[in-house]
Subunit: 261 residues, 2 copies
């Protein structure tokens, strides 16, 4: 009920005229989430806004006047690994929007990058567009639905303020890249590849919640090292770069409206 | 609130001792859903249990004493095609469980079948297990999470009563089949391939809701015809076989508890 009342109070913010007050940051892996939980001095919600049964975790608190919620899909209850991928990302995005009515969503995480398109390890990208590369439905119009290409929320002032690379993001549920995936990623003109972004964008678009994507490069897809090995090697170090970029973006928000980003 | 009260009333049903009273039937395509809406004489809910913004449609009514809800994810609001695939299936499963607290979920739809494993056009399968074939994560334990293999709810008496084929189902977001997908489908020992089943199973498992899968074969994957063409050719006719199978299953439910299925 509190969330619903707050949503009504903030209706003008959703229109872009009031100052941003509530943000949801969706992060798929605990290793990526915890440094930011510390940075913003958030605490784990003992009274979860999510239903019994789901492993999703909300860290929240007030930081520079903003209500910040980091939502991590949690560990799979059977297997104990982070609930990565598009299904969990979709579910937590949906449930967070319903429970918390954010003014802005940030999807932060790691990604693979193509060196042929300029990506290097530890680069942080702001995605200009997102699309799927593993939803091939060769029937007219269904094909476009499958690709699900979407422009992200435009933040020209934020881009000027912070030194982030800009590029297109392609999303799929595999860490590796099959030849079919590669062809779709090329068709999507993607510089970076992740496992959640386009799913978060799809759900946020249903409710017209502005969403931005910050992705730090943990592995070079068109390089020599096996993806899984390179990903695990770089995860901790690259998370520091991601942490810094998310902090810079969040520091830019207080007192600003959506239309000022 | 009504749903929550009803959920409390039905707690014993969830344990398998009381008679089944509320079922949710999740169907991805309108062409597949509408014949069943007619069979059970359901009506579209004017007061949707789902939030504003989503295209999801609930058809409901009482049939032989059962509360029946057919949930169709609706047409994509931008492109006008059915919202097929794992993301929409996950979201409607989640939201239907929260709003309607079903005793049993039935995921009904069409599938591709392998003739080498005995499948023919218009066969209706009850899935014995489900798994994903397009979530390859080659890191220990994450690999199992990606595959997401799950046994389905066991219904030995239903199987004896109704003449359905039994086989394993593999799920992915593409209508076609890449060589990588094929290898995973073979590893999953699947007889049939769809675009929603394992996602519905994943979400239902979070809340321990018993779920069964009825899939009618519209195309032979290891045959001569292109999948998309064969799928569209057979969709209407095969839907009649699916309609009959779902009706037989639903007719078996009244007065029975989950443990009697």
């Amino acid at each position: 009920m509190a969330a619903i009342e707050r949503a009504a109070d903030q209706e003008e913010n959703v229109q872009g005229s009031g100052a941003i007050s509530t943000i949801v940051i969706i992060i798929a892996m605990q290793t990526e989430a915890l440094p930011l939980v510390n940075t913003f001095q958030l605490t784990e919600d003992p009274d979860s806004p999510f239903p019994k049964g789901v492993p999703w975790v909300r860290y929240h608190g007030t930081y520079k006047g903003l209500e910040i919620n980091i939502i991590w899909p949690g560990k799979d209850s059977l297997l104990g690994v982070d609930s990565v991928g598009t299904i969990s990302a979709s579910l937590v995005t949906y449930s967070s929007i319903q429970a918390l009515r954010p003014d802005l969503i940030i999807n932060a995480g790691t990604a693979g990058g193509f060196k042929a398109k300029g990506a290097s390890i530890a680069d942080v990208y702001l995605a200009s567009e997102v699309a799927f590369h593993d939803r091939r439905i060769p029937i007219p119009v269904f094909d476009q639905y499958g690709v699900g290409a979407r422009k992200t929320f435009s933040t020209p002032n934020l881009v000027r303020e912070i030194n982030l690379k800009i590029g297109k993001l392609s999303t799929g549920d595999s860490l590796d890249m099959s030849p079919h995936d590669e062809a779709s990623i090329m068709a999507n003109e993607a510089v970076i590849k992740d496992m959640e972004g386009a799913a978060v964008a799809y759900v946020a678009s249903l409710f017209s919640i502005p969403t931005i994507f910050l992705k730090a490069v943990t592995d070079i897809i068109d390089g020599d090292k096996p993806t899984a090995e390179e990903f695990l090697e770089n995860l901790a170090a690259v998370t520091a770069a991601l942490d810094q970029a998310v902090s810079q973006v969040v520091d830019f928000l207080p007192g600003r409206s959506l239309s000022e980003l």
